[in-house]
């Protein structure tokens, strides 16, 4: 959809950074005991979700093959289909792939419970397999939380993180003399003030579509002090925090373009990029879309800020994906080398600099050379760093995430059309509880 191709300037900047990395990185590899060529000749199959992460892997995979002599066959499949295919193949016990790109916020618990992923805890401690710069503590807390199961086993390597932030249109703000809202209430009041239906300008936009809306709604929920699960694993998303959060969410969306109940990120992005919405809360990963002159009218006019605080705190709902190895794979060591390369400093830097994702590794985000190569505005990068500090997982870590998103998402969408939040959430809760109980049954 967007042009994510890299301009000449990017390449120049990138290669400077990469060159610096190469100088820093090579000796480390040479000195370490990693024998990259040990598994030369192995063939690996990789299943990827379509998107910039997959592109970044496929574009540079030749370098990996040159380094290790391992042949890699990879395919990118649209996210929804990729999840289905992966689950069906993993359940069959004989997946056609060795390495899998997974969405933590949807699949973490499901994969853990089914035991589909190989344990990497041993690999990452093995100096003959792991370069010395790759240590667990380099990943951010959210990344480790995603990658490890409740026994502390590392089941995947965190690849790319998505934080929710507030995008705002500086031009509309300046015209109205508005400042960046600090709280959700302020934001809603401001949204009302900025809405001018006759001119086709709306104060706010955000996902309203069932299921998709849950990633946004949960940010409200977190800021209203919500927790997804209690100590016994009961779901809490119909409690008083949820009801208040829904009211606030509905209020924001009153000042959204008509039809917001059917908006996913794509429609929201379009409304914001066309200059029809003054504020938009969504993942940091859409910045290349709003800063692309071919598809956006607001290039250079976009401000990036934290999602405004609620009465009980200020968080950034966090989602992410990782790369893991199928437990049934026969080439685990070779696959591990690939996973390691995927989350390596160089690959992470390229991903970040092209705006295709934000690596979980602090050593990449804190690297001056890498930072200089980032093509998106400085303010965007700052929002990434700030969001990382207030990051909190944006969806409950349970098996039936899809059911959760559908049921509560439908309830929240219904409230947009005027239904009572308490009644709708209760209805979703009653339907969801038996599903959750069945999924956690141990037998």
């Amino acid at each position: 959809m967007f042009d994510r191709r890299i301009s000449r300037r990017t390449v120049l900047k990138g290669s400077v950074a990469a060159g610096a990395l190469a100088v820093l990185g090579r000796p480390a590899q040479a000195q370490s005991g990693v024998n990259w060529k040990k598994y030369a000749g192995t063939k690996l199959e990789v299943i990827l979700a379509k998107g910039p992460r997959g592109d970044n892997l496929q574009k540079y995979i030749k370098e990996f093959t040159d380094l290790t002599g391992i042949q890699v066959e990879s395919e990118q499949i649209p996210e929804q289909q990729q999840r289905q295919k992966a689950v069906i193949e993993l359940a069959s016990g004989k997946p056609s792939f060795d390495v899998i790109h997974l969405s933590y916020h949807v699949q973490k618990r499901q994969f853990e419970k089914a035991g589909w992923l190989a344990n990497l805890s041993g690999f990452i401690k093995d100096p003959t397999l792991t370069a010395p710069d790759l240590v667990e503590s380099d990943f951010s807390a959210a990344g480790l939380k995603y990658a490890k199961d409740d026994k502390g086993q590392l089941l995947s390597l965190p690849w790319s993180v998505d934080y929710f932030i507030l995008y705002y249109n500086k031009e509309i703000f300046a015209k109205a003399g508005a400042t960046v809202p600090k709280t959700l209430d302020e934001m809603n009041a401001l949204a009302q003030k900025l809405t001018d239906e006759k001119a086709g300008i709306f104060g706010y936009v955000g996902r309203g579509l069932k299921n998709a809306n849950m990633t946004l709604w949960t940010n409200y929920f977190l800021n209203y002090g919500g927790e997804f699960l209690d100590a016994k694993g009961n779901i809490l998303t119909a409690g008083p925090e949820a009801i208040e959060a829904t009211k606030s969410y509905d209020r924001s969306n009153k000042f959204s373009p008509p039809g917001v109940a059917g908006f996913n990120w794509m429609e929201s992005l379009a409304a914001f990029a066309q200059g029809r919405a003054a504020m938009w809360i969504d993942g940091v990963g859409w910045a290349p879309g709003v800063e692309n002159p071919n598809s956006s009218r607001v290039v250079g006019k976009v401000g990036y800020a934290m999602v405004p605080a609620g009465p009980k705190g200020q968080y950034s709902a966090t989602y992410g994906d990782g790369i893991g190895i199928a437990a049934a794979s026969k080439n685990k060591e070779a696959a591990y080398l690939l996973c390691q390369w995927v989350v390596s400093k160089q690959q992470g830097a390229r991903l970040l600099q092209a705006g295709g994702g934000v690596p979980f590794r602090n050593s990449i985000l804190n690297d001056e050379g890498v930072r200089k190569g980032v093509t998106l505005p400085k303010e965007w990068f700052q929002s990434v760093i700030d969001a990382g500090k207030i990051s909190k997982l944006g969806l409950p870590v349970i098996v039936p995430v899809a059911e959760f998103r559908d049921l509560f998402g439908a309830a929240v969408t219904a409230t947009l059309a005027g239904a009572d939040p308490a009644a709708e959430l209760k209805k979703a809760y009653d339907q969801f509880v038996p599903i959750l109980e069945r999924s956690e049954k141990t037998s």
Binding site: L90, G208, G259, A261, L407, A410, A417
Partner: protein, 306 residues
Amino acid sequence: MREPRRDNSTGLPQRWGAPSYWPFVLPAMFIVLAVIVFPWIFTVWMSLHEWKVGQPTIFVGLFNYLRMPKDPRFVEAIWHTLLYTALSVILPLFFGTLAAVVFHQKFPLRGFMRGLYIMPMMATPVAIALVWTMMFHPQLGVLNYLLSLVGIPPQLWVFHPGSVIPSLVMVETWQWSPLVMLIVLGGLAAIPTEPYESALIDGASFWQMFRFITLPLITPFLFIAGMIRLIDALKSFDIIFAITQGGPGNASETINLYLYSVAFVYYDIGYGSAIALVFFVLIVVLAAVMLQMRQRMHWNEAMGGA
């Protein structure tokens, strides 16, 4: 005629046929068993188990069936399916018949216009769905622009729970009225001209001729068209999925869409199979009702004739 004679000439006994034909039936039988009977029985078997992909299967008897009446999403989906089906049988029948009557008249460029009218039928549903999604867009869509020309305020179309099913039916009607037209046009061509001539002599109006001559004579064709539409509408998936994915909320979620979610998004194979079976029974019942109506109609005609 020739075969018995040859038999006589070779002097073989008359009853040589039956047993030796057996092997020839086997391939067909095997295929029927493999692609129709086995999946059927397997679905029944799955529906009696709690079976989630990646988890062990447990026999639970009729539990999956007992879940359904208590599952508001399923109950709502049934109503959505019935409403969607009823509308998308009746409206194409109405507009298709109307179009057939119009295109049955003689006027210049008739063949060309007929061809034009049939075009929607030839397009891929998903492509159609994407185009209509753009047209339905409340701000940028052409439909609201057209409404604004005649002073009607913009509508939310597929973005409001109240108007989503009629809007989807509109797409369905637009696409499938031509099919009804083709069938009815065939019917119209088969009607003899004499009844019309005598009706004209008796001074019948156009409407009277349509009501008392044309309509009874094309009723069998309408039934066939209705049957085809019923089956198509019940199994409709692509248009709904591509335009709304069952939304907003669950307002346009039909059994098909729910079934898809349960089986392939929630990976709840057992429950999904149970829903599939109930859906199958529903289709059989509806088809039976339709056939029954047809029988009654015939009987009425016979009575009227006698």
